[in-house]
């Protein structure tokens, strides 16, 4: 188990800074002193402030807007409405599909969801803009809205054939199975709720647009702005040095982004627009509400014979989001017969979006609850049930796993948790008036791969710069790329500075799907290797090089010094060597694309997701895996649930920095505790409005809700998943937490809750 190796590394300062070492965040000092300037905290001369006005109906037409009072309010520079905002061009989607409409209107006349932007006020100060926005009067012609999936008008939705996965004859095998369970599992609309709101500053200089905006995908968003305004891609610069949390929500340029950029163009002044916290619940999509039914047929010894799965997720009236609900269902357990199908249902909401492990998260809630139900149907220990049906290969792709340390995760987690001491019967463990429940569930996330590039510069003082337009939203990109460059080049990590978050740096694809670390460590490793090759090549061949007369075949660089591997001849710091040969810098741009890649393909690779590499490409199926063990305490009188203990064993392959990976895992577990017990977007049925769109009423876990959490790494390097052997970290740990808690609540109370969140009224 690599947990022991980590402890060893922590006590070995020489290894702290290498890949795999527990180096503290290199961006940490800036963040703990307040020096880190986030995107829309830049100071600009002549900055103006914009505030949005949102629709108060969920469906219908804007019939009139009276902006006179707002226009004459102090400090107001402009009131933008659907009639007065400049026309934008349609932009292609994130797959690169061309726009469905030739023009794009970020302020609308036709309202399809509550809170949709209908007007914006720009003023000299924030306070003036807020006050004037309250003076904008909007009249509507309201029509009936479909408020959510349970609305009678919602219907069965649209079949998404691409989601269908079938083998064997699942329905017949289920009908014939001696043991059968079938149940429905629901998850509500949930929100990413990053602490930093969405927002931006837009500034035009002639036909050049600079956008300071928190972004998980600078190149993709720059493409969208370029297309909206009919600019060459190079004319748009996106800057996003730190991101105050994204969780999937900050990868796309959105309607409010277009409003700010258009306002700046129209006024020829820089414009700052930051969504209010309530607007953050309606201006972009959270996780779609989902409904699933899972039917499992099994032998009496617990061996699964068939799984029949049907899923539905909500999407928008004017946009499509598919939350892949069969993603975990189809791979977690071995079964000879399987069927999964999915529909989407249009409701009056902003188009849902990506939230941490879209698809895998609700999918795991269904299958990992259902397997627990099957275990109790048969009187088999839930952990044993999972081992009986362990998938030795990918049951869907019919390929070998690249690595799957899930059995090891079950073993390590059970040992650390003390699972062997559990009594299986519900309501059989208690502490006074508290019912105690122990639950287990597994999780998984695919290894999403892509090509990346990076620039590595060796400077004349021996220091190193790494440049990439990828980003750090807290995962630790600055730190692991510094470790990668330091290790590859043989320089101390404190001599490496990493520059991220500027689209003028080397290009990068989306930071999402837990792919950044694998892609970017590979790209930096390659670029740094090229820089090292050039350095050594110069040392061996440059006429001014002190090493030239050595007639050596190679040299090595260690701790920032160049020397012969056998220790003979000169021993020079990189700085002294650069001075000796009269070089200012050595620069290498490395990428992982095939050499035959055309410029058009490169552009597509970084500005769309169309060239992502399937996780089942070639001979292997690549995924991260985890096993969660959870203890809950349920108050017998009040039905309140507290998570009192979590032990999770996780296989993310090789960890580039275990200290930071553990933080991400725990963060996923904590977001999963929120999902299980607290989080639910509540829609007012009269007006289709989210009524709890703020941090007091949409409840996030607080410090007082969270117990000690133990994470154990059981990963081994996976050479099929990434250049340096890692698999995904950021999304894995949230997958399976909600069912582990639901299973623990069943064990505590005997009550199976299949509808998240598990609130007290569902238990009493």
């Amino acid at each position: 188990m690599t947990v022991h190796d980590m402890k060893h590394a922590a006590s070995d300062s020489a290894r702290l800074e290498a890949v795999g070492g527990r180096l503290s965040r290199v961006d940490g000092p800036a963040k703990i002193t307040g020096a880190a300037k986030y995107a829309f905290e830049q100071q600009l001369e002549g900055l103006t402030h914009a505030v949005l006005v949102g629709a108060t109906i969920a469906a219908g037409k804007v019939t009139a807007i009276d902006a006179r009072a707002a226009e004459t309010a102090p400090g107001v520079l402009a009131v933008l409405t659907p009639d007065t905002i400049m026309e934008l061009r349609g932009a292609s989607d994130w797959l690169g599909n061309p726009p469905s409409q030739p023009t794009y209107a970020p302020l609308v006349r036709e309202v399809t969801f509550s809170g949709q932007h209908v007007a914006a006020v720009v003023a000299e100060t924030f306070e003036q803009a807020v006050a004037a926005a309250a003076l904008v009067k909007v009249w509507y012609d309201e029509t009936p809205a479909i408020v959510d999936l349970s609305d009678g008008k919602a219907g069965d939705g649209i079949p998404i054939d691409a989601m269908t996965k079938e083998w064997g004859d699942a329905e017949a095998a289920f009908a014939e199975a001696p043991v059968r369970i079938c149940a429905a599992y629901n998850t509500p609309r949930e929100f990413q709720a990053a602490m930093e709101p969405h927002g931006l500053i837009a500034r035009w200089e002639g036909d050049e647009l600079t956008i300071w905006e928190p972004s998980q995908w600078l190149d993709g968003m720059a493409r969208t702005y370029a297309e909206w305004f009919g600019l060459p891609f190079e004319n748009v610069r996106l800057v996003s040095p730190y991101i105050g949390g994204g969780f999937g929500s900050k990868a796309l340029a959105l309607a409010h982004s277009a409003v700010a950029a258009a306002a700046a163009r129209m006024l020829d002044r820089p414009v700052k627009l930051v969504l209010t916290r309530p607007q953050n619940f309606t201006s972009y999509g959270g996780r779609a509400a989902t409904r699933q039914t899972v039917a499992i047929g099994a032998d009496r010894d617990g061996k699964i014979q068939s799984i029949v799965h049907r899923g539905v997720n909500e999407t928008a009236v004017d946009g499509m989001w598919v939350e892949p609900l069969g993603s975990v269902t189809s791979i977690m357990y071995a079964t000879p017969n399987f069927s999964s199908k999915q529909n989407v249902v249009r409701v009056n909401t902003v188009v849902p979006g990506a939230k941490r492990a879209p698809g895998e998260n609700p999918s795991a809630f269904g299958i990992e609850s259902a397997i627990d139900e099957l275990a109790y149907e048969l009187g088999i220990d839930p952990l044993e049930m999972r081992l009986i049906n362990y998938a030795e290969q990918d049951p869907h792709a019919k390929k070998a796993w690249s690595t799957r340390q899930l059995r090891e995760a079950f073993a390590a987690g059970a040992e650390a948790f003390g699972w062997a001491k559990r009594s299986n019967a519900p309501r059989s463990m208690r502490d006074g008036r508290q019912l105690i429940g122990w639950g287990v569930a597994a999780g998984t996330y695919p290894v999403r791969r892509a090509h990346g590039e990076a620039v590595v510069k060796l400077l004349s003082d021996g220091s190193v710069e790494v440049e990439s337009s990828s980003i750090d939203m807290g995962q630790g990109t600055y730190t692991i790329l510094a470790q990668t460059a330091a290790e590859t080049l043989g320089v101390p990590v404190e001599r490496v500075s990493v520059k991220l978050g500027d689209s003028h740096f080397a290009r990068a694809g989306v930071t999402g799907g837990s792919r950044l670390a694998g892609v970017m460590t590979g790209a930096v490793h390659k670029a740094a290797g090229q820089a090292l090759d050039e350095l050594i090549g110069l040392a061996l061949s440059d006429p001014r090089s002190p090493f030239q007369k050595l007639q050596a075949n190679t040299l090595q660089v260690r701790d920032g010094r160049i020397a012969s591997p056998r220790g003979e001849g000169p021993d020079l710091s990189i700085a002294d060597f650069m001075m000796a040969i009269g070089r200012d810098q050595i620069e290498a741009k490395g990428d992982t694309l095939p050499a035959s890649t055309t410029p058009e393909e490169r552009y597509k690779n970084y500005t769309t997701i169309a060239m992502s590499i399937p996780h089942t490409e070639g001979d292997y199926s690549r995924h991260s895996w985890c096993a969660h063990f959870v203890e809950v305490r349920v108050d017998e009188d009040f039905g309140t649930v507290r998570v009192s203990r979590v032990v999770s064993a996780l296989d993310s392959g090789r960890l580039y920095n275990p200290k930071l990976a553990e933080s991400q895992w725990k963060g996923g577990i904590i977001m999963g505790i929120g999902q299980a017990l607290l989080e639910e977007g509540i829609v007012d049925r009269r007006h289709g409005r989210i009524v709890n769109g703020n941090f007091a009423d949409y409840m996030l876990p607080t410090n007082a809700d969270i117990p000690d959490i133990q994470t154990i790494s059981v990963g081994i390097p996976d050479p099929h998943s990434s250049a340096l052997g890692g698999k995904g970290v950021g999304e894995l740990a949230i997958v399976g937490i909600a069912p582990a808690i639901a299973n623990a609540v069943f064990h505590a109370t005997g009550k199976r809750v299949r509808d998240l969140p598990i609130t007290l009224e569902k238990l009493i």
């Binding site: 940490g28 703990i32 002193t33 986030y38 949390g245 916290r277 807290g474 991400q664 410090n703």
Partner: protein
């Protein structure tokens, strides 16, 4: 709504003492301490997470007590001593024990709630509310962290409280 509502252009002349320095401001009475810090004085270490007093990201100290800058008008704190995250480290840049412990324990990820967490943590220890992990969790419950750094925040405060006692 009254269409004829007029918004007074009146501004106030204020002297605010922030991190030991007195700064003059000409602002409208409705400007919050948070917006005065971020938009006028460019002290952007204090974060705006909700602007509704619900998340704690804007926590600063006023006369040593933790206060939400988004629910405080700048005009309310004239003549009082305001400390923000930028004023917590020593003149020579030496980190406060809480800052150092946050770094060591990896008590943050994205860093956006972190200044508020740290200001709250310093006050939590000073108030005598860092006696146990349970007490720390309760008295830090007003500072939300969506990255989920809570267990490491508790560890950092436990460590810093011990260091500050000794």
């Amino acid at each position: 709504m009254n269409d004829q509502v007029t918004i007074s252009p009146t501004t106030l002349s204020l002297n605010l003492t922030i991190n030991g320095r007195t700064q003059a401001l000409e602002i409208e009475p409705r400007v919050t301490l948070l917006d005065a810090l971020r938009e006028r004085l460019h002290l952007t270490g204090t974060k705006k997470g909700c602007d509704q007093g619900q998340c704690g990201a804007c926590t600063v100290h006023v006369d040593g007590e933790r206060v939400l800058a988004c629910l405080t008008l700048a005009a309310q704190v004239e003549g009082r001593s305001i400390t923000t995250i930028e004023g917590l480290a020593g003149e020579d840049g030496t980190l406060h024990a809480v800052q150092a412990a946050f770094l060591e324990q990896d008590a943050f990820q994205c860093g956006y709630c972190t200044p508020g967490q740290i200001m709250s943590a310093v006050a939590c220890i000073r108030e005598g509310h860092a006696g146990s992990d349970e007490e720390i969790r309760e008295y830090m419950a007003g500072n939300l962290c969506r990255c989920g750094a809570y267990p490491h925040i508790v560890a950092a405060i436990r460590q810093a409280a011990q260091e500050l006692r000794s």
